[in-house]
């Protein structure tokens, strides 16, 4: 089994994701430089958080034109597992691999704190080891995580169980205060039709070790590994 972590100029969480996968989960993991044109023999690829290209113009707008994106679109088309975290999620949206777009947080400022997520769908590879409705405490760190899509897209996402995570309070109930950015329907993470491509704003790699205060994030990586092991 081999994982890949894509590195764009300005990616900041590439080392963090690589450490969790390679050193904590003990899975062979490579870095994939954004100028690489084709991708072969990877079981799962992570688009890490960070501020690719300094968020010039729009977060993720420029990264999507890197050579690696063409290869990733083809890889995803073949059913390869692809997980976009924070800036990685924004890049998936800009590349059209997931529908919708990110607006500035309604508070207008960057927010870095723990949030609670309710697991809405456990069919996909990244939540198969979680229980439906389970509550996870995972940190967010972004300035533009206010997910938006037109009504038709939102309806399609909700009706086909493609909302993977929703912001909620400690008890799992929806709450305006608990939503860190104003996302429509408190959406924190979605997946594509086949479920092999997922994007989420919170950072699971920041809570996969006891020393950092929570291991809830580890469940996502465990799910992917168990799913691949079959």
């Amino acid at each position: 089994m081999k994982f890949g972590v894509v590195v764009f100029p300005g990616s900041n969480c590439d080392h963090d994701c690589h450490y969790v996968l390679n050193d904590v989960m003990k899975v062979k993991t490579d870095y994939i430089w954004h100028k690489r044109g084709e991708i072969k023999d990877y079981d799962c690829i992570v688009l890490p958080g960070g501020v690719s290209y300094g968020d010039s113009l729009r977060t993720g707008a420029i990264a999507r034109f890197s050579p690696v994106m063409r290869a990733l679109i083809e890889y995803a088309g073949r059913g390869g597992l692809l997980m976009g975290i924070c800036n990685g999620f924004q890049i998936l949206l800009e590349a059209g691999l997931l529908p919708g777009a990110m607006l500035r947080n309604t508070s207008l400022s960057f927010v870095c704190r723990d949030v609670w997520l309710r697991v809405e769908n456990t069919k996909g590879p990244f939540t198969s080891s979680c229980k439906k409705g389970e509550i996870l405490k995972i940190p967010v760190a972004h300035g533009e995580g206010n997910y938006y899509a037109d009504e038709k897209t939102i309806k399609a996402l909700e009706d086909n169980g493609r909302v993977v995570f929703r912001y909620c309070d400690e008890l799992g109930m929806p709450s305006k205060l608990a939503n860190p950015n104003g996302s429509v329907n408190d959406i924190a993470g979605i997946c594509n039709g086949k479920g092999n491509v997922m994007g989420m704003m919170p950072h699971p790699e920041r809570c996969s070790e006891k020393v950092l205060g929570s291991v809830d994030g580890k469940k996502l990586f465990e799910s992917a590994i168990n799913f691949l092991a079959g």
């Binding site: 290209y53 960057f110 950092l212």
Partner: protein, 666 residues
């Protein structure tokens, strides 16, 4: 070889007025002519002015800074030797750290002023070859009732968040005080710490005749022209018109520069490396040549420029951000270029090392600057300023405590103290900083000290930043000692033992004898405390001329202390843990309210005797606390500071996960 008289763009002749405009005294001008053996031209005058400004040469503070203890078994690179000090943390690993001020640019443009302050201190760390892993900041603003202070606060916090979040280095702690003394002259002190193996420590020196000198990073523009000398002049109402082109930071570019430089340093092809900070190309060229005991020659037409028609004066003094000077091994030019091309960065050979000890600058082949490198870098004038005990002290220290009515309602008074912006929670600030990136943050902001793990070295460190400027106003010597003691206390409360210190000394105009007296007394206090705690000073920064139309700001010597954990199990938080735990007060609780936030809030007074600091008792408290933690007897520890015992207890309750209370028998 003299300097060609005629240069293409007619540079102004060096007149007496021009010399004064450059803050150079007649004696200093005579010294310049002696060094050159002739009159300096316009560009050379600008170079001397910025190299001999207080900001770069510390000409007024150097004799006093010699009081600091700078040696110690763990010190690998001493204060003053390089861009930042380096301290051993065992098993071949070390930390490089420093704190620097960006007060004056932040008063003019808070967002970019603070952002470039963060960018500059980060460069000082990776220029040592260290991987930056944590930033902190100490901020001071005027009273929040004043709209300008609110505007500056919003801009500075925004700038720090923008730079830190974009470059991906966590901002893990710091402190913010609000006091009328800082109206119009905020203090923005930025700290950064990096991790490095002993063998990888890089030096800022140019050695080996013929070795190529590379300019790497952003193109040069007319940013912050004369920033260094500008920082050495007071900020008065006039300065709003005197707005040099503001320096703008590009954290994305610096992230590329950081990765490229660290990758380059691994190849072993680097002889010397230095960031272009205040005084840009000027400072980096003459300091590297001076340290290497060699000369350097550069050609300005090779320097990548962002604007057209820049004169040699502008190119040499520009303070454009995100630029480095790299001296590489001859014959490795191709390899150096390849690394920077990978990261889409300029890497242009602009000159080479020479053996004649001269800093020679050419423009299209014509020599425009020819100065002995060592003389300008190290022979700056040194002054022993006049000091005079300030008149205000006698009155300020007198406080008839018996005349102060006891609080009618103690609860109301406590709530009022907790509402003071200096004490109240700073969550709304640090939640704008990404304080978790790099997944090393074990104790998050809000506790006494930031605690980080260092994955590669398998070690844990604590960092704290402190200074009570009111105590320094009432008694600079004791105030200085307390700043160090409190920083050490915060490190000890987290379970680490203090290792070393960096400081940022923010004071008024050194030409005023009362201000220089405050400065010297504070440094004496800091030095004595550092000696007592065995925490050498590894470097730092002096920022003078922090004044506004109301006079000098209170003396503010910010002390940042780094501590090392023996074991991960010793990490201790500040909030109460379980119901039924016993609460102990370690050390004497003397009834002293001089200079307290209590009398400032309730009586609007900044008066009284500064609290006593008995160093031996303080050391005993530290030793006791650390031993108790190591024996596993302590669940949480919090140091008593602003607001006193009542506030300290409240904080430990408020921060506790399950909203615990406390019952105390006085």
């Amino acid at each position: 070889m003299g300097v060609s008289e005629k240069t293409e763009s007619a540079e102004p002749a060096v007149s007496e007025q021009l010399v004064r405009d450059h803050n150079i005294t007649p004696e200093e001008y005579a010294h310049i002519k002696e060094i050159l053996g002739r009159e300096p031209n316009f560009t050379e005058l600008g170079i001397f002015s910025v190299m001999w400004s207080e900001h770069c040469s510390y000409k007024n503070s150097r004799p006093v800074l010699k009081l600091f203890p700078v040696d110690g078994p763990a010190v690998l690179v001493k204060a003053g030797e390089e861009n930042a000090g380096v301290v051993d943390i065992g098993d071949g690993w070390a930390v490089s750290f420093k704190v620097e001020s960006h007060n004056h640019p932040s008063a003019i443009e808070p967002f970019q002023g603070a952002a470039t302050g963060v960018g500059g201190i980060i460069r000082d760390i990776f220029t040592m070859g260290a991987r930056p892993v944590a930033c902190l900041n100490s901020l001071r603003f005027g009273g929040l009732s004043n709209t300008r202070a609110r505007y500056l606060l919003k801009g500075v916090v925004g700038g720090i968040a923008h730079y830190g979040n974009c470059i991906g280095i966590p901002t893990v702690g710091g402190e913010i005080y609000f006091d009328e003394t800082y109206d119009g002259n905020p203090l923005v002190n930025a700290f950064c710490l990096g991790i490095i193996r002993h063998k990888d420590i890089a030096r800022g020196c140019a050695k080996g005749e013929g070795n190529p000198v590379f300019y790497v990073g952003a193109a040069t523009g007319r940013d912050g022209l004369g920033g260094a000398s500008f920082a050495s002049r007071e900020l008065t109402d006039a300065s709003h018109e005197d707005r040099p082109a503001v320096q703008v930071g590009d954290p994305f570019m610096e992230k590329l520069l950081l990765e490229a430089c660290l990758e380059l340093l691994k190849t072993g092809y680097v002889i010397g490396i230095q960031d272009m900070g205040a005084a840009g190309l000027t400072c980096s060229t003459c300091e590297t040549a001076s340290r290497g005991g060699s000369g350097i020659e550069i050609e300005l037409s090779e320097v990548p420029k962002r604007e057209t028609g820049m004169t040699p004066y502008e190119i040499m003094l520009s303070e454009s951000q995100e630029r480095m000077l790299v001296i590489a091994q001859k014959g490795k030019e191709k390899e150096v270029k390849k690394i920077f091309e990978k990261w889409d960065l300029h890497a242009v050979e602009i000159g080479h090392v020479t053996s004649d000890g001269m800093m020679r600058v050419k423009n299209n082949g014509k020599v425009v600057v020819n100065i002995p490198a060592r003389k300008i870098a190290e022979d700056s004038p040194v002054y022993v300023r006049e000091e005079k005990k300030p008149a205000y002290l006698e009155k300020a220290n007198r406080l008839e405590e018996e005349k102060l009515a006891e609080p009618g309602d103690y609860n109301e008074t406590l709530v009022r103290l907790l509402d003071d912006p200096t004490i109240s929670s700073k969550k709304w600030v640090y939640e704008q900083y990404d304080h978790m990136v790099m997944t090393n943050t074990v104790l998050r902001p809000g506790s006494d000290a930031a605690v980080l793990r260092i994955k590669s070295a398998g070690k844990y460190i604590a960092i704290s930043s402190d200074c009570n400027s009111t105590y320094c106003y009432l008694d600079p010597y004791t105030g200085g000692k307390i700043a160090v003691a409190e920083s050490a206390r915060n490190v000890v409360c987290s379970g680490a033992s203090p290792l070393a210190v960096t400081d940022c000394l923010n004071f008024g105009n050194p030409m005023k004898p009362e201000i220089f007296w405050q400065f010297k007394k504070c440094v004496e206090g800091l030095a004595d405390a550092c000696r007592s705690f065995d925490t050498p000073v590894t470097g730092g920064n002096v920022s003078f001329y922090n004044e506004n139309s109301g006079g000098a700001v209170d003396p503010t010597p910010i002390v940042c202390m780094v501590g090392l954990f023996e074991n991960e199990k010793h990490i201790t938080g500040a909030s109460f843990v379980d119901e039924g735990d016993f609460i102990y007060l370690i050390g004497n609780n003397r009834s002293e309210i001089g200079g307290s936030l209590y009398i400032k809030n309730v009586f609007g007074m900044k008066k009284g005797k500064c609290p006593v600091l008995d160093i031996e008792e303080e050391k005993a408290v530290h030793t006791f606390c650390l031993e108790a933690i190591k024996k596993g007897l302590i669940k949480s520890a919090h140091d008593c500071s602003e607001g006193g015992l009542a506030v300290t207890l409240s904080e430990s309750c408020i921060m506790s996960a399950r909203g615990l209370g406390a019952r105390i028998d006085l």
